[in-house]
Symmetry: C2
Subunit: 345 residues, 2 copies
């Protein structure tokens, strides 16, 4: 499906291919890291990553898509570096991303992720906590053992700063569940922390591995953060309006569960009649019936929630593009930005 | 109380003072780290560390005891280094230790730690998971931002290796709960991983900060691991026979909860009549009544469980002492070894 805010340009690789290529490039390093975990953490990690089923039987298919790895590789390439040199950075951000997914699934009590049982749902909460802890450690170890010595301190400090931001963002996201009202600014800050932090880190580490100037590293950091926020806002739109045939996400689920995403918050805060009706719909505790979900989606649009969200997507993409160095080869980064708005999975 | 396996020697500082001194030395670095967490993680961390109550009101009293920090400081001193140089290492191992305590309390569903409500019991499981995640990140950041550049890669790799061992040890410990039978060797491996790993890391990092030779770093690593195991075995003894007036631990609790500690496992595996009677007592699901707890304690001793455990304590202490370099000033390290057997808290 496609949520188009700018016209997609003709490209050599599809968005799908860009992510799959990054996934294939980073996978060998991830496999070594996962293999070194020892059982049963190894099996849990490979299951979570989609490599095998819960019994350890390989699942046929291609490598997974790796957005954060792709960003690290693309930032390295934009800075004139070699993609191979960015493998430890790409693997570290993917490991950290998966640490956060495993723990988030526990905290959100999500029984499924992309149609598969979540790790805690298969192995229990305690083992999922341990798996997340181990993946966090492996992310750091990937950098401390595989990066050139002069890059290690900065790379690891950046990764740990991102981890702390992730924790703060996840705290805010959990807290929103119990808040009657969430402000738009609060939501934007949460997304910048929960999603933007690791994307920012991926961009910065890619640049760092290419030996980029500190100002360029900072630019790539901003690029990643803005791209991450834009990506999340588009996810929010897909969660309400996307085509379930072409999206991993269960369309309508967000509304059914009254999830306070940007379009919903913007609608609720709009002061419009549609916003008031949406608030009334959201008052009850029962899950919304299908016709209520459809009505809520229409109300979000009428109240201007969709429009405001797409404006934020455009603004974040513009902010990302604005920091790209004029003399850099930014084709890959632009390809990734296109991914934000055109999902061809 | 005192569990004496060797005669305590006259010392300038009591065991209590050695730990309190390390606690006071490491606390400023810990405070900076905790303050940078942001709310509410900051408040949760300081509560967990005993600095304030759940509302954030300071709790009067001295610094906490810091065994792992003390080991890092003592290893640095034994290698001719300056204790001050080991502050980042000492703070990192304390942060990592507290990460593991916070997550272990969640996994074990322990409502109290040292008579205070555990973090998850005050703030909920999700927040405790996040606090642990954040403390793990802060431990690494302490090293990546405060150690001299040439030490960072090795120090962080060692800390992450210890983290992974901790996770494996905690996995085994949780698994024992559901196993009908636990072998002595399985228990010894679990203790080496869950307790020994971070103590080993503390010793090694202290030596590393003092610029010690790699062989000396390895020796301090072994010293820490052996000391950690010895410490845990003495805890196991105190959990059964210790004097509740002088111990943090609730004496009898381990037996009441049928916890498979070394004295119990040794008794159950002894093939003696007392071991068989103990196994019968442990068959029921109900918590043991006070007279059953007393009987179980007597049976553990009759079956040789106490004797075997104290032998392991002596062996681990001998193995620790054996690796100390002959030319090093090991007074502090010997003081710590004395702490294992003489608890004067």
């Amino acid at each position: 499906m496609s949520v188009t805010t700018t016209e997609p340009l003709g490209t050599e690789l599809t968005a799908h291919e860009v992510l799959a290529s990054a996934g294939a490039m980073v996978e060998p390093a991830l496999r070594v890291s996962v293999d070194s975990l020892g059982e049963p953490l190894r099996r849990m990690a490979g299951y979570h990553l989609g490599w095998w089923d819960a019994t350890g039987m390989p699942v046929p298919g291609e490598s997974g898509k790796a957005l954060r790895a792709a960003l690290a590789f693309s930032a390295a390439a934009a800075c004139g570096g070699n993609r191979d040199d960015a493998v430890p950075a790409a693997a570290a951000v993917e490991l950290l991303h998966n640490f956060s997914l495993v723990h988030d699934d526990v905290m959100d009590a999500d029984p499924l992720r992309c149609g598969r049982r979540t790790t805690w749902n298969v192995w229990g909460i305690n083992n999922a906590i341990l798996l997340g802890d181990a993946l966090q450690a492996q992310a750091v170890k990937m950098l401390s053992t595989r990066l050139p010595g002069h890059l290690i301190a900065e790379a690891i400090t950046r990764l740990q700063t991102a981890t702390l931001e992730l924790c703060r963002g996840q705290y805010a996201d959990c807290a929103f569940e119990n808040q009657a009202r969430v402000g738009i600014d609060d939501y934007l800050s949460m997304v910048a922390a929960k999603v933007g932090s690791l994307m920012a880190c991926a961009g910065a580490l890619g640049a760092l591995c290419a030996g980029a100037h500190p100002r360029t590293v900072s630019a790539m950091e901003i690029y990643g953060r803005e791209l991450g926020s834009a990506f999340k806002f588009v996810d929010d739109v897909i969660g309400i309006y996307g085509d379930p045939a072409f999206s991993d996400q269960c369309v309508g689920n967000d509304l059914r569960n009254r999830k306070k995403t940007l379009p919903v918050i913007a609608a609720l805060e709009s002061g419009t009649d549609a916003g008031v009706e949406l608030a009334d719909l959201f008052e009850s505790i029962e899950p919304l019936a299908p016709e209520q979900v459809a009505r809520a989606a229409a109300l979000v649009e009428q109240a201007g929630g969709l429009e405001l969200t797409l404006r934020h997507v455009r603004e974040r993409l513009a902010a990302a593009t604005a920091v790209l160095p004029v003399d850099a080869d930014t084709r890959d980064l632009e390809q990734l930005a296109r991914l934000v708005t055109v999902r061809d999975n």
